[in-house]
Amino acid sequence: MRKTFVFIISFLFILINGTTIKGQDSVQFGDSVIIPLKIRIGIEVAGPVIYFTDKSILNLEGYLSADLNEKISLFLGTGYSDYKYSQHNYDFLSKGIYIKVGADFNLLKPETAMGKYWAGVGVHYGLSSYVAETPLFKHENYWGITSSSLAKDTNWGHYIEICSGFRAELFRNFSVGWLISVRKLIYCGTSKDLRPIYFPGYGAGGKSFSTGLAYYIVWNIPYKKIKVALKKETPEEPEEPENTESTTNTTNSGR
């Protein structure tokens, strides 16, 4: 069910973004373009949607980012997560908060991005404070069943996140976007023998790497406009070298 939701949302975003209209904020001149720098407030929407279908995990996340220039923006994210897992031989609970700080890099050219589109990568450092507990686990062998538990413990985990994705302005100052994240665990806050099944912000604490997918609705607040010079494109090599005169005459006329 959870996967189906993720899939449907993916397609919805593709359809919506495919029909996105071109923006009016930015103005392009011959050799430069005016780009609005923005502060963004985003909320992650997949977490609450998933919670309606799967009560075992609640993930609430939001972020604040500010453009430094047309390429780089600073990122500050925070979230809360409440996770429950149960199977025949153990129960596990973890809940806590996390923050992420870092930078996002827009790989689109300024004249393509126009201050409205973002497709690029982000590098974030994540710090999570969480309480984990195993209220019951059972182990069965020749001597019978042994039941035990692990008491509540507050832990601090941290990790590095690299994400890649896309964001587009649907309406004036409102964007939607999605991000695929790969996270590298630095420290999960516990001994190696008792790594948490899950810890907020990171995911599966038992693994060195985790992945994630997030969908955002973003409110953009323009705070400044900058003029960005456009890089002149080098003319393409002629296909037929012997026809020199005609190719020289058509340089820069393609666009």
Partner: protein, 156 residues
């Protein structure tokens, strides 16, 4: 041009999403979940690994539940420890001659994986044993885990 560009990006992202979804499919537990004392059986006179003609093994006071019952071709016996106690003993009958072995140990829990859950690892002290057919027991590795490594040797 813009739309064409985004379609390319979306195709790549959608492909990645599908890969992630497949990769995240939860699985069953296929790992070993019991930590046994892995015991090699050596013939004392030659010092070589040799299966006894007959091996019977069970826990003390567990006569009705044999771990091995007149088994043949056993060169590596697996002895489970009682996680709810700090010591446990076994009756071992090699070629019809009975001995007992008692282990003292400490126990700690370990998470194997999300799929398999928790198990217990142990750290054993030097075992106590009778010497009817057993000559010597040596400890090769005193941490008892799910890894496939020898823990003790019985010379008989």
């Amino acid at each position: 041009m813009m739309r064409k560009y985004f379609l390319k990006i979306f195709s790549a992202l959608l492909g990645s999403t599908i890969i992630i979804m497949v990769a995240c499919t939860p699985g069953a537990c296929f790992d070993e979940t019991n930590a046994f004392v892995k015991t090699s059986l050596y013939l004392y006179s030659t010092g070589k690994l040799l299966a006894p003609d007959s091996l019977t093994l069970y826990g003390i006071n567990m006569d009705s539940s044999k771990i091995y019952n007149s088994s043949k071709n056993i060169t590596l016996a697996l002895l489970p420890l009682d996680a709810s106690a700090d010591s446990c003993g076994f009756v071992i009958m090699i070629n019809g001659v009975i001995d007992t072995i008692t282990f003292s140990y400490s126990t700690h829990p370990i998470l194997l994986s999300k799929e398999c859950g928790y198990t217990f690892y142990h750290t054993i002290d030097t075992p106590f044993y009778s010497r009817n057919i057993i000559d010597t027991i040596t400890v090769s590795k005193n941490t008892i885990t799910t890894l496939n490594e020898e823990n003790i040797r019985i010379y008989y």
